[in-house]
């Protein structure tokens, strides 16, 4: 225990700190780490974990960062680590460096390490994990796995965590296997007891029971979107594996296998096909939707690029299609395992020619579920591609959110479909005939009627009756109607949500998706540091509703906060709403890490301070 240097007084914080686990791949640490995050939740305190991982399967380092926040802040905090659990010698130097002054370093001190490997301004917590497990277990696999649990026990004692919360989680995980439960309890307490017998405990970072969590649930956005697709009535899913969207389809498959299984026949009410590429995925989605099934694909940026031609076909031939895009850092292969909001314009205007598509932008798993289900109604209602824009930050990390809810009276909206009965009753059918003057026309499914309602679907220009036509007026009428339909869409998509400041302000901020949690927290920092907050508008969809235009009109300066280099959403606001570019101030974060409240508040605070100085001159 030579290295247990404790020269300084460490940080003193209750229920508000960041713990980062530096992992060795394949050591089975993931389960113990996730249990730590969940144990915090069981104590009623919000905890938000993030997987930080390279584009690699084995051998490269990964990290698991948990933000503990009784105030309920779910965004990445940024600004260093308060407690580093350094289990990976490969990244030791970097990990030690990332600890804030006064922070804590937890490590396995079985093997002595030179003093040069430590810092003087941090508190070092050495626990002989290997020594303990080597003594207690003979099987190498057991030694490895239980080391994680012993470590978890030690951490719990150091942070004054509820060991019962962890016991509860272990009991749930190994339900029905009492031997395993007992063994894990034993390991857990080995860690707890060692700390209690040998170390000053608890340390300055402490846990205390709270009531922040309430009835909220804890799930990753990809699984939530997959579940949303089940509730949205998706029966066909065609996809091609790509990070970070793969777990969305896996989530869909997991839920669908269970919830769409016909017990009597042993058959399934869903068809999931792993296609040969993204072109085939979207082709299958379009074919299935043309034929009246609800179909979707999940992908990421490179897949969106590949699907371009087909997306244009679906737009022009007016075929529903749901595309769930879990965004990662682009362009090209970019940083496949890093987050970004970077496909906004690529999706909104995908494909050649004049096109405009529907985007739904969830802020958290709750909305991933909501929009996941809603996207199918909108796609059918509007007969056009609908994109659900997740990103890696909310897609691949578990996140606290409202519990999902569902109204059992809700019926899947299949949109304007003419049936055999309609056709027999003599209703006039023209595939591209705008009878309701909303730009949305009626369609028929193939095989509907022996002699009526058949039409030819094509990507070439056509007249109202779906006949091939290269006549200028036919083409233009069709293009104008598509624009009208897009305007109709603005009244059907979820409106932007306004959170007004406590007192009137000339400053507004527009943001969307995973920027939501950090933006809310940034506003609190601005109130604290500058005395006033901003009016906030969270976009949830494209096309923009009238509330977006009004919000911009009502403010002198509007910050547009996004996670890409070029201010893609800002460009769309400028172009679609004809806003003067000077009025929209870019706040851009694009290094692949999730945007933080500190970053946003610093950027906005700087501008507000500069305005004050200028006006006082």
């Amino acid at each position: 225990m030579l290295q247990q240097v404790d020269r300084i007084e460490g940080l003193q914080r209750v229920n508000d700190f960041v713990v980062k686990f530096a992992n060795v791949n394949g050591s089975g640490s993931a389960s113990a780490n996730s249990m730590f995050a969940k144990a915090v939740l069981r104590m009623g305190v919000a905890s938000t974990p993030r997987n930080i991982f390279p584009s690699n399967i084995q051998g490269l380092p990964t990290w698991y960062e948990v933000r503990v926040s009784e105030a309920g802040h779910l965004g990445a905090r940024g600004g260093g680590v308060d407690l580093m659990v350094a289990m990976n010698p490969q990244t030791w130097d970097e990990d030690v460096k990332s600890i804030v002054p006064g922070g804590y370093l937890f490590y396995d001190n079985t093997k002595p390490m030179p003093a040069s490997k430590f810092r003087e301004d941090i508190v070092v917590l050495g626990v002989p994990l290997t020594e303990m497990t080597n003594k207690a277990y003979s099987d190498p696999r057991q030694r490895q796995l239980f080391k994680n649990i012993v470590g978890l026990g030690a951490l719990a004692a150091l942070l004054d965590m509820d060991a019962e919360a962890i016991e509860g989680l272990l009991a749930e995980q190994f339900k029905g296997r009492q031997k395993l439960i007992d063994a894990n309890f034993q390991a857990l307490h080995m860690g707890v007891n060692w700390v209690k017998a040998n170390m000053a405990h608890p340390i300055g970072l402490r846990m205390r029971k709270a009531t922040t969590v309430g009835d909220r649930i804890f799930i990753d956005g990809n699984s939530a979107a997959g579940l949303g697709a089940v509730y949205g009535g998706a029966t066909v899913c065609a996809w091609y594996p790509i990070t970070p969207s793969t777990s969305l389809v896996e989530g869909f498959q997991r839920y669908a296998t269970r919830m769409r299984f016909d017990k009597e026949t042993g058959k399934s009410k869903v068809a999931i096909v792993q296609a040969e590429d993204e072109l085939a995925s979207i082709g299958m989605v379009i074919g299935a939707a043309w034929n009246g099934a609800r179909a979707f694909t999940a992908t990421s940026g490179p897949g969106i690029s590949l699907m371009g031609e087909f997306i244009g076909l679906a737009y022009f031939a007016e075929i529903p299609a749901v595309i769930m895009d879990v965004q990662r850092s682009g362009p090209s292969t970019g940083m496949p395992t890093r987050t970004q909001q970077t496909d906004i314009t690529a999706c909104a205007y995908s494909s050649h020619g004049d096109t405009k598509h529907i985007l739904l932008i969830p802020e958290d798993p709750y909305e991933c579920f909501e929009f996941g289900a809603l996207s199918f109604d909108l796609a059918d209602r509007l007969q056009t591609p609908v994109f659900v824009m997740l990103d890696l930050e909310i897609g691949m990390n578990e996140r606290l959110c409202k519990p999902f809810d569902w109204d059992d009276n809700r019926v899947l909206d299949r949109g304007k479909v003419m049936t055999k009965e309609d056709l027999d009753a003599g209703k006039v059918f023209g595939r591209y005939l705008d009878v309701d003057n909303d730009g949305i026309t009626y369609r028929t499914y193939p095989g509907t009627h022996p002699s009526k309602g058949a039409f030819f679907t094509r990507g070439t220009s056509k007249d109202r009756m779906a006949r091939y036509s290269e006549e200028g007026p036919d083409y233009q009428e069709n293009m104008d109607r598509l624009l009208k339909k897009h305007k109709t869409a603005a009244s059907l998509v979820p409106p932007a949500i306004l959170t007004p400041a406590k007192s009137p302000t000339k400053y507004g901020a527009i943001y969307f998706g995973s920027t939501s949690a950090p933006m809310t927290e940034a506003d609190e920092i601005l109130i604290r540091d500058h005395g006033a907050g901003l009016d906030l508008l969270r976009l949830r969809a494209f096309p923009f509703g009238p509330e977006v235009e009004k919000f911009i009109e009502d403010h002198d300066v509007v910050f547009v906060v996004e996670q890409n280099r070029d201010g893609q959403m800002r460009s769309m606001l400028i172009n679609e709403l004809e806003i003067h570019p000077k009025k929209l101030v870019k706040v851009l974060h694009y290094d692949g890490t999730p945007i933080t409240a500190r970053f946003i508040s610093a950027a906005i605070g700087e501008r507000i301070a500069a305005d004050k100085t200028a006006s006082s001159r």
Binding site: L41, A271, V273, A275, A280, G287, R410, R458
Partner: protein, 351 residues
């Protein structure tokens, strides 16, 4: 092409099939392809096959990619839904359509550019998956709409209309289909209706991935001396391994051939294929033998046609996916949405 519209008045004595339809009911608007185009003969063969099999036109979905061949679905089965999709991507659209409704008949029409060049990936994977469909490639060895460039099925050494000699090896779609697990593989010639119509009929009755490579000369760009896809060349080198009659439930089965020269194949839906062997040793159920035979005859300069391989009891994609019997596009809210109670249980498991 002709600019004259098809007459709307039909002869009252036109023959009607079991559903009361005449051949006219299976036709479409007048073709805009070049006069004499092989593709129009294939359209006519499709019309005849569907008429003779008494298929309700609206229960057929016709899909295509882009190109001269892919334009043809407009010109047949006017009462069917059609989908002229994206270049080389008909197979995926057809696969999706098939997933949505297993009860329709899917007819995919493509060309050699559409399937062997830009769409070779989708062609291959649709065969691998065993999608229940009829996939016809109208193979003329050139790009017609862009005026006569070689396609990937052009034989090495074939001469273009402008005198350029093709230096690239040809892709053999029949060989690929055989190798990739298609359960019905045939080759035919648009100029041989007697052979083509029964092949299309048999393919329509087949309950798996059926592929027909139909050599279809391009009168505008590939019907000259030096072409290996011209009418004259194909007629001279065409070597059929068998000839076929399709016998459905209501036809009478009569055998009047010498023993050993005729094989009766009963397909899964009950239709019977009566195969008259023209090549005594050719076994239509031997996938590997078929591959070898095709290669040998090709090396000898022959173009082998006929029914080359058939598995009468195929398993299609729906069988692999174990989907319910009701078409997926007919499942309603009650069948698809698990409801609030199930959601509450999920919520509880996430705390």
């Amino acid at each position: 092409m002709t600019y004259l519209a098809k007459p709307k008045l039909h002869h009252p004595d036109l023959h009607k099939n079991a559903l009361g339809f005449t051949r006219r009911d299976y036709e479409g608007p007048v073709s805009t392809l070049c006069a004499g185009c092989g593709h129009d003969s294939i359209s006519a063969a499709i019309v005849r096959a569907c008429f003779e099999l008494d298929l309700p036109p609206h229960r057929i979905a016709k899909l295509s990619g882009i190109g001269c061949s892919s334009k043809t679905p407009t010109y047949f089965l006017g009462a069917s839904h059609g989908f002229n999709s994206v270049h080389g991507r008909m197979p995926s659209v057809l696969t999706g359509a098939n997933l949505a409704n297993k009860d329709l008949i899917y007819l995919g029409v493509s060309g050699d550019g559409d399937s062997a060049s830009i769409g070779i990936g989708q062609f291959a994977h649709a065969m691998r998956r065993g999608v229940n469909m009829v996939y016809i490639v109208e193979n003329n060895g050139v790009y017609g709409l862009t005026k006569g460039q070689f396609s990937a099925t052009s034989d090495k050494g074939a001469k273009s209309k402008r005198g350029v000699v093709n230096s690239e090896e040809a892709i053999d779609l029949v060989g690929m289909a055989l190798q990739l697990g298609a359960t019905f593989v045939a080759r035919s010639f648009s100029g041989d209706k007697t052979q083509l119509v029964p092949l299309i009929e048999a393919a329509l009755k087949h309950q798996g991935a059926a592929f027909i490579d139909c050599i279809s000369p391009c009168v505008a760009f590939n019907n000259h001396d030096g072409s290996t896809k011209s009418f004259d060349f194909v007629r001279e080198h065409n070597e059929a391994v068998n000839s076929l009659d399709v016998i459905t439930g209501r036809s009478e089965i009569t055998v009047d051939y010498a023993p050993g020269t005729v094989e009766m194949v009963t397909q899964h839906d009950g239709s019977v294929l009566r195969l008259r062997k023209l090549e005594a040793n050719y076994d239509v159920h031997d996938r590997i033998g078929a591959l070898t035979y095709m290669q040998e005859r090709h090396a000898a300069g022959e173009m082998v046609t006929g029914l080359l391989y058939v598995d009468p009891n195929p398993r299609d994609l729906h069988a692999h996916l174990k989907t319910v019997d009701t078409p997926l596009n007919e499942l309603n809210t009650a069948a698809l949405v698990p409801g609030s109670k199930a959601l509450a249980a999920i919520n509880a498991s996430l705390r």
